[in-house]
Point group: none
Chain length 407, copies 2
């Protein structure tokens, strides 16, 4: 499908905005004054409701019916990349989340500080090293082990015993370079699992990883607990066409959280560092309006409150977004999509498999089918329930950016 | 997709019930006091209607738009096995329907008693031997031809001139072992078609089948009409992962008809023999409630009345089920699915291609979209019209039995 689209793409000067409220979809709350309403239904959203009435509405499924997507698959789908074809490894996402950029020259992995006695793991988490302490250890590792052979090592301190490492090789890596087992045996009282390459391309990476383990043992020698590192989730970036190559779109990602900027950079979007929240994001959108074709605006907190099981705060965050909607509309985008990357019902306190409400506003929609913006109303919309990966072609067409297929 | 699901499955102690009203879906009746209503709309089903209001509703398509499924594809789809990938041969279904268990060591086929004169078939049905007579003949064949070489032969008497044979080999058979033509020429006045293996794996089976034909001619020598047997539908069980391997579910099939128990056993469900109807089925459900994760409860008569073109009796059977619904709800299943394996509109007097109404009840649904349980109401539901094979992942997620895909 991406090949087909590529052949149909034309360029013009239209502007497309994806406003992604992370974890937008919800479920009815079982009690209290909002009983029976979803977060979107409970939130007072007069501006989105009015827009939904004149938009194409529907719900989209990021992976497949019943499958709960992680943030990686959720966003890849929105951008038109089949998440079953392009798998994003745990190490890559961890590194992105810690703000480390990853490229096609890199292998990323997650590490734990652990306690090793006479070759046996006696504590897989080194007594859950406090974050402040582990940060100092990780900075020492960075200082002492910045390079092994011609490979640059980039360390990303994480929470407690966790950190990430990106190995940056001098050239782009072949696919299969990260097919390496975890050394974490997942239980204590046993030796670490030796590293083994499952493909010939991964052998070079194994040698660097072995060097890293030995180096870390040297650096951490005097530590009472955190004297060893365990490795998990070796991964490399999937080989994906860039957003520009796939759609001819010059794209800007506006996201306050590092992971989403990192995801966007993987497909070649510009993603400047940004602190703050909605206000700062919308200021950047205005500032850069003339410089890009496509704007991915990511609002994280909707998901965060869903993960906390905080129904009310999630609804409030949606209301806050609604009160800023006019600022986006003032820019007069040719296509405005408002949706999420997956559902995060407060009831479930986590991502869920439920399809995600979506509205697509442009001059070329039916509209007139929904009274407000919610899961139940979107079911009445002209888009029905559809696979997320099919959204991008629809968006391009609404922006006049796709030619006819066939004569 | 089944591979993906397998990697995401987790176990817990939730209980899942599939209540399958065989042939549930219907069409508007053209006359009389129920004119314009489907069987489900005509039936008074206050309990299912109330449950539908707070359930996820939709309609599912067992094979594809416009394709009428047999019972095999209908049930395989419901259980999450793609019916286009896993083909169930006619011989297998015939044997299952006659209550003969079939395994991966078996080739099953359908046979007809026929009349042969000087090498020519003069009657393909041996004058439609009365069932009582043919049963005796088949018992004689069983007694005289219980084994050829190391292959056990199991005969299943059928109606009139029909019977089934299962050839049980000592070891599991390779795929392709039943690629053998029918000997039935489909017309009289011609010789039987010689057996021929289309694949090398089928040659051994051909030799046994030839032995069976010759043996039967010996045994039936003195018969005035039924002196020969014609063969059709050579088939073996598709190689399918078991339900337990695919989903981690320990499953019980509760079905009064042998074919449905046989189908369930093919994927490793326990399926104890059972006589009776709804009452006995629900008694078994209660009895075994603590021993299984998944319960497939099959109600045959809904389909049977549809096949008879008896609109009223089909509606009544649905009403009867409705009056028992509270017995299932009392058990408090975590996920309850009520649906059919295909539609059997009384108007059509047979299976049909129409999608099948479904409700899925769990704590994690939107609900509030339908007023009752019917084809037309289900179209308003949150599940829309979907491929049946996608149901199982949704069910697993609703039972908390699927992890997130990707990070």
């Amino acid at each position: 499908m991406q090949e087909l689209i590529k052949g149909l793409v034309v360029k013009n000067d239209t502007k497309i905005v994806f406003l992604v409220l992370d974890g937008l979809g919800g479920l009815p709350w079982p009690e209290g004054k909002e009983k029976g309403k979803t977060e979107l239904e409970a939130a007072s959203t007069p501006n989105m409701d009015a827009l939904a009435k004149v938009s194409a509405c529907g719900l989209h499924m990021p992976v497949s019916m019943g499958i709960t997507p992680g943030s990686g698959p959720g966003h890849l789908s929105l951008f038109g990349y089949d998440p079953l074809e392009y798998r994003m490894g745990r190490g890559i996402l961890e590194a992105l989340g810690l703000g480390i950029e990853v490229k096609n020259t890199d292998v990323a992995l997650r590490c734990n500080y652990a306690t090793l006695r006479e070759g046996i793991i006696v504590d897989r988490r080194a007594g859950r090293v406090p974050t402040e302490e582990s940060r100092k250890l990780t900075e020492r590792l960075q200082k002492e082990l910045g390079r092994i052979d011609d490979v640059e090592l980039i360390f990303g301190p994480g929470m407690e015993h966790r950190f990430a490492v990106v190995m940056r090789f001098p050239q782009a890596l072949e696919p299969g370079s990260a097919n390496i087992n975890d050394t974490d045996p997942q239980k204590e009282g046993t030796a670490p699992v030796p590293l083994k390459a499952s493909t010939p391309q991964a052998e070079r990476v194994v040698r660097i990883a072995e060097g890293l383990i030995a180096g870390a043992q040297r650096v951490l020698k005097g530590e009472p607990k955190a004297n060893y590192i365990l490795m998990r989730g070796f991964s490399q970036t999937p080989v994906m066409p860039s957003f520009e190559a796939a759609y001819g779109l010059n794209a800007l990602a506006i996201a306050a959280y590092p992971m989403y900027r990192g995801l966007a950079r993987l497909i070649g979007m510009d993603a400047p560092a940004l602190e703050g929240d909605l206000k700062e994001e919308l200021a950047l959108l205005r500032l850069k309006w003339n410089d890009y074709d496509f704007f991915f605006v990511h609002v994280k907190k909707v998901d965060s409150y869903g993960e906390d099981g905080n129904f009310e705060a999630k609804a409030k965050k949606i209301e806050e977004m609604d009160s800023h909607l006019s600022e986006i509309l003032k820019l007069n985008p040719d296509v405005l999509v408002i949706t999420g990357d997956h559902s995060t019902p407060a009831l479930i306190r986590g991502h869920s498999w439920h399809p995600v409400p979506l509205m697509l506003h442009s001059k070329y929609v039916l509209g007139g089918l929904t009274e407000s913006f919610s899961e139940r109303q979107c079911l009445r919309g002209e888009l029905g329930v559809f696979a997320t990966v099919k959204l991008m072609p629809l968006v391009l067409s609404n922006a006049g950016r796709l030619k006819k297929f066939g004569a």
